[in-house]
């Protein structure tokens, strides 16, 4: 087994049930919001993803925010990096920068297509794909060279993560793709949001053949409107109608404070049960909680693990 360079990998390998959170930087030059969010989750999660321009929206750099939360808060980052906007030169350079700044986890992603972007006329790069990206990190870490075989001084100590989608249909195409990346040496996997427990269990069962640590993604919604939006607009994800209805009822409360507490109760009840089920009946290594801007629920859910 390869050496553990990060708290995330150490926690996973220790066998404890691991929680990770998520910060989504905005179109800003201010770090304070990301720092606040990291502080609120620190101590409750092992590491925190920092997104890399989701939906192709040009936001504050993932690497910069990853560095900031590690330096200012002491919360370990899982720096997301896409192949959408960088060729292999830029990705290599970014990885060297990440290693130099002490980033120990990189999550490789293809990135939402530029046509969905807030700069839709941008050129999609995709010089590499995520399989190549995994290979690049492995070569940098294991062999001390880049894809061109050029030597790197100082060493690169980081783990490479991949993303899986339990909702993918046809699922076999997704599984075979994951298999390629596991063979290339991916260290861990986080998944797309999954609400459907049967789907999650089936996916996790399939993953057992690859022996890669998997953290299924869960998405506590702050309101029924968000849940409905995801259900209608994110293909492949069906948010259970009962859960949406519970949120709607909770939002019917009169004052804001009660409303917030009721929504939190619904989310805690729903997701703590889900986490317990994943923990008790599957080989999931933990759960990735995608609740950016909703740190309170992350804290509460951490208590049930």
């Amino acid at each position: 087994m390869r050496e553990s360079y990060s708290d995330l990998m150490k926690a996973i390998r220790s066998g404890r049930f691991v929680l990770t959170g998520e910060i989504q930087p905005k179109k800003t030059t201010l770090l304070n919001e990301a720092i606040r969010s990291a502080k609120e989750m620190h101590g409750h999660i092992v590491a925190c993803n920092v997104t890399d321009d989701p939906r192709g929206q040009a936001y504050l750099s993932s690497l910069v925010v990853s560095h900031a939360i590690q330096r200012d808060v002491g919360l370990e980052a899982i720096c997301q990096m896409t192949v959408r906007d960088r060729n292999r030169i830029a990705i290599t350079s970014e990885l060297l920068g990440a290693a130099a700044l002490g980033i120990r986890n990189v999550l490789t992603m293809s990135g939402d297509h530029t046509s969905l972007s807030d700069n839709p006329c941008a050129m999609p790069v995709y010089d590499l794909d995520t399989a190549h990206f995994v290979r690049l990190v492995r070569r940098m870490v294991d062999e001390g060279v880049d894809l061109g075989g050029n030597r790197i001084s100082g060493g690169v100590r980081m783990h490479v993560g991949i993303v899986g989608n339990p909702n993918a249909e046809p699922l076999e195409a997704e599984l075979l793709k994951i298999g390629r990346k596991v063979d290339l040496g991916a260290d861990f996997m986080q998944t797309q949001i999954v609400f459907d427990m049967d789907r999650a269990k089936c996916f996790l069962k399939e993953m057992e053949r690859y022996q890669i640590p998997v953290l299924p993604g869960i998405f506590p919604c702050k309101s029924h409107a968000i849940a409905e939006f995801v259900s209608k607009n994110v293909p492949g994800i069906k948010v259970p109608p009962d859960y949406i209805e519970e949120l709607r009822k909770a939002e019917g409360s009169l004052d804001r404070q009660t409303k917030r507490e009721k929504v939190d109760e619904v989310n805690f009840e729903y997701f703590s049960a889900l986490i317990r089920e994943l923990k008790g009946t599957t080989k999931a290594s933990g759960v990735h909680i995608m609740a950016f801007g909703y740190e309170g629920i992350v804290r509460k859910l951490s208590e049930c693990v």
């Binding site: 046509s115 999609p124 993303v163 046809p170």
Partner: protein
Amino acid sequence: MAEPFDKIFVVGCGTCATICQTGGEGQVKEQLGILGKKGVGWAVVEAPCDLRLVKRDLAEFMPRVGLSDAVLVLSCGAGVQVVGEHTGKLVIPGLDTLFIGKIERIGRASERCRACTECMLYETGGICPVVRCSKGLLNGPCGGMANGKCEAGGHTRDCAWVMIYETLKRQGRLDVFKKYREPKDRSRKAQPQELLGR
């Protein structure tokens, strides 16, 4: 683009642009109608991308071409450049070239080849991911695939990697699907290409 010129010669394409109904005789005449008195002549070259055919088909029109201030060419970018190189005239591209594609019927075509220099169609069931995957991925599908459709364009177009998966599965060749494909050597496309067979 045609505005500053008083005398314009129009060249059409007898092959691709005729089939696409964007640069055949009909469209050349339409352009002449729009140009009115500015139009000083026209010709449809069998294939404006082929210098030999440009020389042959424009030979009788060269005096008129010579009188013009500019040549409006209704063909792909290759044709525009060949006509410009041969006539020495200022050329105006009349069309925006979209792709190298499959012709389904007159006026209907779809992109199939991006001339990437490293053909991998044998490994991908005859479906080119460089063109037909919106991200040009060599080891797909990506996470944007849902129910076999591609995220670019709002999940309306088939995901190329699902098509590849289904084709290879049908052919009993899923082992090829599982294979890792190395990154492309983009260096050949980083400079203008030439074919120097002899």
